[in-house]
């Protein structure tokens, strides 16, 4: 069994999670500070990828990143780097699809944050950035880690947008999910089944970690 699809899926999911982690926390905090009308709008826009079919996300990404499209041609022209049909194109797809999970989890945690703690820090002479890094983020850390695990699991399971922007090239862009589809297409059910089991095992593990984190968080709150 050739393990490239697994390694590729894992690096795509890891990179996407890192990007989504930073973006999700940053935007969740930023949106919370917006005036109500803008907030509602921003919230819908940032959550939309959660409910859109991945094919719609893939289509929009191709419109932007394709070699003859605005961003794609600019990057290709300036750096000679293609943004589609390469392994890291799948990172763009996974980031967009997994982002809402991180964003909404972080936003929920920030909304539950006790503002009295921030006020206490202010009266102690602390800056807003100190409050964010030393009080708010640590207080919300369990939910934020849970959001990252969820985003990782989602990125690992990404198929629709990934197959459109990265395609399927063995040893180049093949991921676990696109490999399963390819093997099924050519009728190699035995190998397809093995990949299916690998996928189920990793996703189940991620969900176990998630449940464990949430149980620990609940236990801490009760005390």
């Amino acid at each position: 069994m050739d393990w490239f699809p697994l390694a590729n899926s894992l690096r795509i999911a890891a990179l996407s999670t890192a990007a989504v982690y930073v973006l999700g926390i940053w935007l969740a905090d930023g949106v919370a500070k917006l005036p109500p009308a803008l907030k509602a709008l921003a919230d819908v826009a940032l959550t939309l990828p959660l409910v859109l079919p991945p094919t719609v996300v893939g289509f929009l990404l191709l419109m932007l990143l394709g070699p003859r499209r605005p961003l794609g041609s600019l990057v290709l022209g300036s750096f000679g780097v293609r943004l589609t049909m390469v392994w890291y194109a799948a990172v763009f797809a996974s980031v967009v699809v997994a982002f809402p999970l991180m964003y909404r989890t972080a936003r929920g945690a920030f909304e539950n944050f006790d503002e009295t703690l921030a006020d206490a820090a202010r009266t102690l002479g602390k800056s807003e950035s100190w409050i964010f890094w030393r009080v708010k983020l640590p207080a919300c850390r369990t939910s934020i880690i849970a959001g990252a695990v969820l985003a990782f699991a989602r990125a690992l399971g990404e198929y629709g947008a990934t197959s459109m922007v990265a395609g399927y090239t063995p040893h180049v862009t093949a991921t676990v999910s696109t490999t399963v589809y390819q093997l099924w297409q050519i009728g190699d059910d035995g190998l397809a089944l093995r990949w299916v089991l690998v996928n189920i095992a990793i996703s189940a593990l991620a969900l176990f970690v998630l449940n464990h984190l949430e149980a620990r968080d609940r236990a801490e709150r009760r005390r």
């Binding site: 006790d114 009295t116 703690l117 202010r122 009266t123 002479g125 030393r134």
Partner: protein, 213 residues
């Protein structure tokens, strides 16, 4: 000396308070039923709530002046605030919470000062505990130690005994008086309990429906 004269409109609620508090161990009480505007007055003094107009002066320093457009942010006011819920940082130990209150100092000096506060506030042995591992009284002492570690020029106490039962309350009152006896600045205690403030405070300001003068 703390001089406060503020007004603020919040929906149909009108806050209109003027009070002054002397320093030197004499506590001033702000007493009234819940919803009268006690906490909001404290928050305005601390800079956590912004009044519509008026003036707040602390020891010759203007913290707020509506007509001159002065409104110092909370972190520059140097006013200690003991919250009703104590507001200890849940992810930090007692020691770390107290160290947070200290202004920029060398590490050695800071450690020595933290150790001193731990002793003074009867928190020895609890240094490495987190707030949820402390009793109500211990949490209150830790929060007060954190406030005072910051060398505030004034101290605001928001219903410090609302979270404890009657029996403990008598002990904590005595403790609070003892711990605060060395505090030189003005100190305002907010309470809805008249007998309590008569035991603890030398002057009493009554607030009703947002009005106190």
């Amino acid at each position: 000396m703390l001089d406060v004269r503020i007004d603020k409109q919040l929906g149909s609620f009108q806050l209109d308070v003027s009070l002054s508090a002397e320093g030197a161990g004499a506590m001033t009480a702000l007493v009234g039923p819940s919803g009268a505007g006690k906490s909001m007055t404290l928050k305005a003094i601390a800079g956590l709530v912004h009044p519509d107009g008026g003036r707040i002066e602390l020891g010759g320093r203007v913290l707020y002046d509506g007509t001159r457009g002065i409104d110092l942010p909370a972190r520059e006011r140097n006013v200690g605030y003991l919250f009703q819920s104590y507001a200890l940082f849940p992810t930090m130990t007692v020691e770390q919470n107290i160290a947070c209150g200290m202004r920029m100092r060398g590490r050695a000096e800071r450690d020595a000062r933290v150790a001193e506060k731990i002793r003074t506030f009867h928190l020895s042995g609890l240094e490495k505990r987190r707030p949820h591992q402390l009793s109500g009284g211990e949490q209150q002492r830790a929060a007060l130690a954190r406030c005072l570690a910051n060398d505030p020029e004034a101290l605001l106490l928001d219903e410090p005994f609302s979270a404890v039962d009657e029996e403990l309350k008598a002990i904590l009152e005595g403790e609070l008086l003892e711990l605060l006896s060395a505090f030189p600045g003005p100190c305002i205690l907010v309470s809805h309990d008249r007998p309590e403030v008569e035991r603890l405070c030398s002057s009493i300001v009554e607030i009703r429906d947002g009005h106190a003068r």
